[in-house]
């Protein structure tokens, strides 16, 4: 066998760099899921009665539902009775300054390379750090408050902003939307809540770092972002997780709402533990993300860079209801070793003159499988709708797979739908060409990947872009040579 073939075969000597555990006392719910679990979680969070009712309704819906099987991913049956549905830090205290933050957590920040002090000062990022299920710190609250912006944990919002939560929670992703959304609705532990009032431009990027920390604890984050008329917000979600042997389920729900002339930009850099070289362990990431452009001229833009998880199942979508509204989806999904990803988007055109743009860049290495699944719906009411989709696949080596499943449902033909797809490969000849110009395999791959993903990267805020590039290099380290 050719030497380079062998090299491509020696897939990934790259150990997960962020694999460490933070040692903080936990408070767990009993293992398994029942009505009592739902009541326990609600009680723990001191929720009002209406919230408990809402959760129970979701739980009952979930009991009648079945796990979806249509995705192009394969994994052993999940035993939902072996999961712990709630873990919170024992010592609860109010944190006013960073000095009050648990040193263990500070240490975690350091290992992740996120100097919060610096981030605070330099980048102007308010970091709402979710350690397991509990928000531990929220900075910049004051300056946001001045503008009337609400940025807090969803638990707090349930207590303090019940009317807003009642109005919007489940309005974009209904409880019975899908199996995992129903599960999330029943047992969600925490997450972020953002409300931007009329005419306000959020002066800084809002950011949350998620981290799965407790062994065997499913993570059920719930995020709700509302941009009122004429407002703007950019929200960053990033996460890394410690190394684990057992599969961990993550089933988050994110809901976005934009009113007239409002815009939400939602960016994700996701790097959860993908499992080891043999495909053991790793996070199952089954996420429901959806936004609705409720108002005229509003815009929702999803940008995601996905490098982690053993299995990813995720379709950030836009419902373009308001006339002239715009939906965007920019995605880089990397799979290596035995990772499986089935990801894409749905653009649902309802309003007139609505526009959507899809740019999907899949990168497969090792023995991984990477599927793009995209749906464009143009409803009867959507005159002059326009969609452009660009779906590219890049293969590294010849043991991996890329699949594209575009679905079109056009009920109004006054508009235009454009689809373009390409597949390229980083093979031996390409690597040798780069070698011959003096580049090592690593340098060549990193250069090619960055060029290939440029269109998506440039959608990210500056500091996130750097982080994303780093993550990509890390996750493809050793995929050749």
């Amino acid at each position: 066998m050719a030497e380079n073939d062998k090299i491509i075969d020696e897939v990934v000597a790259n150990d997960y760099k962020y694999g460490f555990t933070t040692n903080i006392e936990q408070e767990f719910a009993a293992v398994g899921l029942s009505e009592d679990t739902v009541r326990f979680i609600s009680a723990k969070k001191e929720e009002p009665e209406w919230m408990l009712e809402w959760r129970l309704k979701a739980y009952k819906a979930w009991l009648k539902m079945e796990q979806p099987k249509w995705q192009n991913v394969h994994f052993p049956e999940i035993d939902f009775q072996s999961i712990i549905y709630y873990a919170a830090q024992k010592k609860k205290k109010v944190i006013n300054s960073l000095d009050d933050v648990d040193p263990e957590i500070r240490n975690t920040y350091d290992k992740l390379g996120i100097p919060i002090q610096e981030q605070k000062l330099l980048a102007g990022v308010a970091v709402d750090y979710v350690m397991d299920s509990e928000s531990v710190i929220t900075t910049f609250r004051e300056s946001l408050k001045e503008k009337g912006i609400i940025f807090c944990s969803i638990s707090e919002a349930i207590r303090v902003q019940p009317e807003l939560v009642k109005k919007y929670l489940g309005s974009v992703v209904p409880q019975r939307d899908n199996y995992y959304a129903a599960l999330n609705s029943a047992v969600f532990s925490d997450g972020s809540f953002v409300y931007i009032p009329k005419g306000v431009r959020c002066p800084m990027e809002l950011s949350t770092y998620f981290r799965i920390n407790a062994e065997n604890t499913g993570q059920f984050e719930r995020t709700l972002i509302i941009a009122d008329e004429g407002s703007y917000v950019s929200y960053l979600e990033g996460c890394t997780a410690p190394m684990r042997d057992e599969n961990q389920l993550h089933a988050a729900v994110v809901e976005l709402v934009t009113h007239d002339n409002a815009e939400i930009k939602y960016s994700t850099v996701q790097n959860w533990y993908p499992g080891d070289k043999e495909g053991k362990g790793g996070i199952y990431n089954f996420v429901t993300k959806r936004g609705i452009c409720q108002g005229k001229n509003s815009k929702i833009s999803w940008t995601q860079v996905e490098t982690g998880s053993a299995i990813t199942w995720k379709y950030p979508s836009c419902i373009l209801k308001g006339d002239n509204s715009i939906g965007e989806f920019y995605s880089v999904a990397v799979t290596n070793n035995y990772q499986q990803a089935d990801t894409g988007t749905k653009m649902i055109h309802i309003g007139k003159n609505t526009k959507s743009r899809i740019v999907s860049k899949g990168i497969s290495a090792g023995k991984s499988q990477n599927s793009y699944r995209g749906q464009v719906q143009v409803h009867r009411t959507a005159d002059n709708a326009y969609n452009s989709s660009q779906c590219d696949s890049l293969l590294i080596g010849d043991k991996c797979g890329a699949h594209t499943f575009p679905y079109l449902e056009i009920k109004n033909s006054t508009g235009k739908v454009e689809h373009e797809a390409t597949t390229s490969k980083i093979g031996e000849d390409l690597l040798f060409y780069c070698n011959q110009r003096g580049l090592t395999n690593e340098e060549a791959v990193s250069m090619i990947i960055n060029g290939y993903c440029k269109e998506v990267f440039k959608q990210l805020p500056m500091e996130f872009m750097v982080e994303a590039q780093k993550l990509l290099s890390i996750s493809l380290e050793g995929s050749v040579g």
Binding site: A2, E3, F432, N435, Q436, L439, M447, G451, K454
Partner: protein, 252 residues
């Protein structure tokens, strides 16, 4: 500067180069001609370090160093350049970014700082002029959608950028019309100096009207069977390879 001694090379269990010998001194241009499938590209690829080619025995010394011990990228940084017979497309990477990475990889190897952006662009402009390359090519992805001739020109442009000491040209003239041929040859001639050596693989004598070689070698059955001056190329042009094949029928 390059010394090849008794080189035997095989690929896929088949021996291609057989006791191959060649000496190239600084500043010399050597042309290699020969029928298809005789091992010319194998020679170029082996010198450049392509791993598919298995060196069975022999020695290759380049500027006093054992070339065969170096990886392909090391050889490139040490000053070996191969202008490919079939240049590869690099999706999503502009020629500018590609050259920036390559130039800086070489500079790092020499213990130099990365080139400053202004100097780099100046260098790009200068070398583009050398092969009369249009500016728009540098912002397009490397070789993507380039015509055959444009790809070859891009090879010579890259060669000019990287300033190698040993230039291997594998059928750079194939598929070029007469204007492109002249441009490519001019580019090469401008890069000629008393330290830089060339190994020019070609099928056609016409290239050697423009790039005048010091030596012409005829390769057949995996080795050089005849060497001479530039007049040897003319004879091959007139008489073809049949007389070579007859003289060396025992080699195949």
């Amino acid at each position: 500067m390059l010394s090849i001694k008794n080189l035997n090379v095989g690929i896929a269990e088949k021996q291609i180069l057989k006791d191959f010998n060649l000496e190239i001194k600084p500043g010399e241009i050597h042309a290699i001609m020969g029928p298809n499938g005789t091992g010319k590209s194998t020679l170029a690829s082996t010198l450049a370090g392509k791993e598919d080619y298995e060196v069975l025995s022999g020695e290759v010394t380049f500027n006093g160093k054992n070339l065969l011990e170096m990886s392909a990228d090391e050889r490139a940084r040490e000053g070996v350049f191969l202008a490919f017979q079939y240049p590869v497309e690099i999706p999503g990477v502009s020629t500018t970014n590609f050259m920036k990475a390559a130039v800086n990889a070489k500079r790092k190897h020499q213990g130099l700082e990365p080139m400053d952006a202004k100097d780099f662009l100046k260098l790009m402009r200068e070398k583009m002029a050398l092969v009369e390359m249009n500016k728009e090519f540098t912002s397009r992805s490397v070789n993507e959608g380039f015509s055959g001739g444009e790809k070859k020109r891009n090879e010579i442009f890259q060669m000019a950028m990287l300033e190698p000491t040993l230039c291997l040209l594998d059928e750079t003239d194939s598929g070029l019309d007469i204007d492109a041929l002249r441009i490519v040859a001019n580019g090469v001639n401008k890069l000629r100096d008393d330290k830089r050596s060339f190994l020019v693989i070609t099928h056609y004598q016409r290239l050697l009207n423009y790039i005048v070689p010091d030596y012409v070698h005829v390769m057949y059955g995996g080795k050089i069977v005849k060497s001479g001056g530039k007049e040897l190329a003319l004879k091959l042009e007139e008489q073809g390879y049949d007389w070579i094949k007859e003289e060396n029928s025992e080699l195949v």
